[in-house]
Point group: C2
Chain length 338, copies 2
C-alpha cells in the first residue's frame, strides 16, 4: 500500500451533513521521519461531536478547518515503525486517527491497546474507550446517583446512555431511559434492567415522565437537548444534578440552541448543571476502567457496537447518529481486524 | 403593650410591590402557651427573596398565602417567656419573625443572639447573619475562587455581593463588581479593594467586561439575572463556575425569566452552574462564621447596613431593593435596640 485515502472538510454543513461537505482524497503515503509510526486504521469512531467539529460554532476544540482531514478517534495496526516503542503488527490508538485509511503519528502520541482474553477489539472503541469513560465520569463522578434516586437518561439506547444508565442501576437508582422506537425501549427495560423507557417518537415525553417519575427526577444524564431536555429539566427535584453530556438534537439546527425554558429552576430547586467533555477526564481514566473492566469481562455490563464498513461510507454512516438508525456504538471499519 | 401590628398579604403583586398588596393589621397579643416566648422585634431583614415569597411562582419555600403574615427574618428581645430557655431581655432570633412588631414562638424555634464586644447587633442581621453566610457559602463553597482567577460579582455593592467579592479577594482572585451608579462603584474599588467596577446604569456591561476581564471569567457570583447575567455568562472560561444566588432583575417582571442566551456554553466550556438557597447551608453555618467572625471583629471585612424605621414603612422600604436606593444590607428597625 503506497497511498492513503482521507476525508477532507470542504464546506461547513448546513443542517445535515451532505455528501459534498467532505471530499475523499487519495495521496501517496509520506515517508516516515525518525520516531514516527504508520498506522493502518481499523476502526474509526463516529460520534455526535463530529458534527460540532465540522461547524464553526463556539466549541471545546478548534473546529476542523476547511481543507483539513476530518478529525476522529480510532484504533489500528502498526504497519511501519521508525520508533523503538512500536513494531509492525502492534495494535494501537494513534492519538487522533482522523477519517483516514492510515495515520502517521509520532510515537509519543500513540498508545498501545491491550489484548485481554475474551474482550474484543471493538470494546476499546466503545465500553472501554471514550464511550464508556464518558458514561462513567458523567454518571458517577458528576451525577452521583444514590440508591433510591430517580435518574433519567436521554438517548438512553445510545452508546453512552446505555452504559450510563446501567451504571446508575448498579448504584441502586431507579433509571428511566428516553429512546427512539419500541425496539430500543424494549432493550432498555428487557435486557439492561432499566426501570422504564419512554419512546419519544410515539409518546409525549412530559406525560410519560410524570407517569414514570412520580417522585420527580434527581439526576438527568442529558445527551439530547431541546424539548426532551426541557421536559426532564422542568421535573428536576431539589438538589438535582443535570449532567450535560450532549445536545445532539440541536447540532444540525445551526444557530444557538435553546436552553431550558425556566433557568430560574436552577436557583429555586438548587440544581447543579455541569457540562463535561471526556478529554478533560482522560488523565483519570484508570478510575473508570477499574470498574468498567471487570464489568465487561464478567458480562455484567451490556454493550453493543454497530459497525459500518468502508471509509468511503463515512458520511452516510455518521448520518445514522442523527436519525437513530443504528444500534449501539457506531463504528466504521476501515480495514480488517488483525 | 397588649396589641401587635403585622403586615398581611392581601394580593400577589403585579410588577412592583404596591401599597395595597399588603395590609397592616393590629390585633391583641395572644396569651402565651407553655413553652412559648413573646419577642418584641427590633430588626427585620428586607431581602429580594421577599418578592418571590409574595408571588406564586415556582419557588423554594411555599409562597406566603393570601391572608398570612408576610414572612421575614429578624432579631428581637424577649418580652415575656413561658420557657425555661429564655428570660425577659434576652436578645434572640425568633425563627421567622415575620413582618410584625411581635412574634410568639415556641422556644425550640428561638435561638439566642450572642453578645460580642465591639460587634453591633446589626452585624447579626447582615455580615454574621444570612447575608454573610450566603456570601461565604456561595463564593467559597460553590464558587471556589483560586488565586489569579477572575471573579465577577453582580449587585456587587449589595449586602451579599459586597461580602462575596471581598472573600474572593482574600483568596487571591481578581474581582470585578457590577453595580448601579458611580458612588457604589467607587466604594467597591476604593474601599473594598475590588480590582474593577462596572456601572451598569451608565456603561455597556459587555464592553466593560471585555475591557476589565481580558482573560475571561472563571467565577460568576450572580445576583441579578437577565441581560447582566448573560453578559457575564457569555464570557465564562472553560471550567468556570456560575454561583446562582439570585435573579433580582426578574422578580418584578412576572412570567418566566430568560436564561442565558447560549445554554450550550455550559457543555462546550464545561461550566458548572449551581443554584443555592442559604437555608440549606444553615447546619454548616459554623464553617462560615469561623472565617467571618474574626474578619468582622478585626475590621478586615467591610460591611454596611441601611436602616429604615418603622414597621409601617415596610412596603416602601422593601421597594428600595429593586431601585437600588439603599446602601448596604437593608433593615427595618421596628423598635429600639435593647
Amino acid at each position: 500500500m503506497t497511498t492513503l485515502k482521507r476525508w477532507v472538510l470542504k464546506h461547513r454543513p448546513q443542517g445535515e451533513i451532505a455528501p459534498g461537505d467532505l471530499e475523499l482524497v487519495e495521496e501517496p503515503i509520506a515517508d516516515l521521519a525518525d520516531g514516527e509510526v504508520l498506522v493502518r486504521n481499523v476502526y474509526l469512531s463516529l460520534d455526535p461531536t463530529n458534527r460540532i467539529w465540522m461547524s464553526d460554532q463556539d466549541q471545546y476544540l478548534p473546529p476542523v478547518q476547511i481543507g483539513e482531514t476530518m478529525r476522529g478517534g480510532g484504533i489500528g495496526v502498526v504497519e511501519r515503525s521508525r520508533s523503538d516503542s512500536f513494531k509492525q503488527g502492534d495494535v494501537v490508538n494513534p492519538g487522533l486517527a482522523g477519517w483516514s485509511t492510515h495515520t502517521i503519528a509520532a510515537a509519543g502520541a500513540v498508545s498501545p491497546v491491550p489484548a485481554i482474553p475474551g474482550v474484543p477489539l471493538t470494546a476499546f472503541m466503545s465500553v472501554l474507550g471514550a464511550t464508556g469513560l464518558t458514561a462513567w465520569f458523567g454518571m458517577i463522578d458528576i451525577g452521583k446517583p444514590q440508591a433510591g434516586e430517580t435518574v433519567v437518561v436521554s438517548a438512553a439506547a445510545g452508546a453512552v446512555g446505555s452504559i450510563a444508565g446501567q451504571l446508575a442501576k448498579l448504584r441502586g437508582a431507579r433509571v428511566i431511559g428516553i429512546a427512539g422506537g419500541k425496539a430500543k425501549c424494549d432493550w432498555l427495560t428487557g435486557e439492561l434492567g432499566f426501570d422504564g423507557a419512554i419512546d419519544y417518537k410515539s409518546e409525549n415525553v412530559g406525560a410519560a415522565l410524570d407517569r414514570l417519575c412520580p417522585n420527580g427526577i434527581d439526576v438527568n444524564f442529558e445527551n439530547v437537548g431541546g424539548e426532551i431536555m426541557d421536559a426532564v429539566f422542568s421535573r428536576m427535584n431539589n438538589f438535582g444534578r443535570m449532567v450535560l453530556c450532549g445536545m445532539i438534537s440541536t447540532y444540525n439546527a445551526g444557530g444557538i440552541p435553546a436552553g431550558p425554558t425556566d433557568f430560574s429552576r436552577i436557583l429555586m430547586h438548587r440544581l447543579t448543571v455541569k457540562g463535561f467533555i471526556i478529554i478533560d477526564y482522560l488523565p483519570r481514566a484508570s478510575e473508570a476502567l477499574a470498574e468498567l473492566g471487570p464489568l465487561v469481562a464478567s458480562g455484567a455490563l451490556k454493550w453493543k457496537v454497530h459497525v459500518e464498513d468502508g471509509l468511503e461510507n463515512a458520511v452516510a454512516a455518521v448520518g445514522r447518529l442523527f436519525t437513530g438508525d443504528h444500534d449501539g456504538k457506531l463504528l466504521l471499519r476501515i480495514s480488517p481486524e488483525p
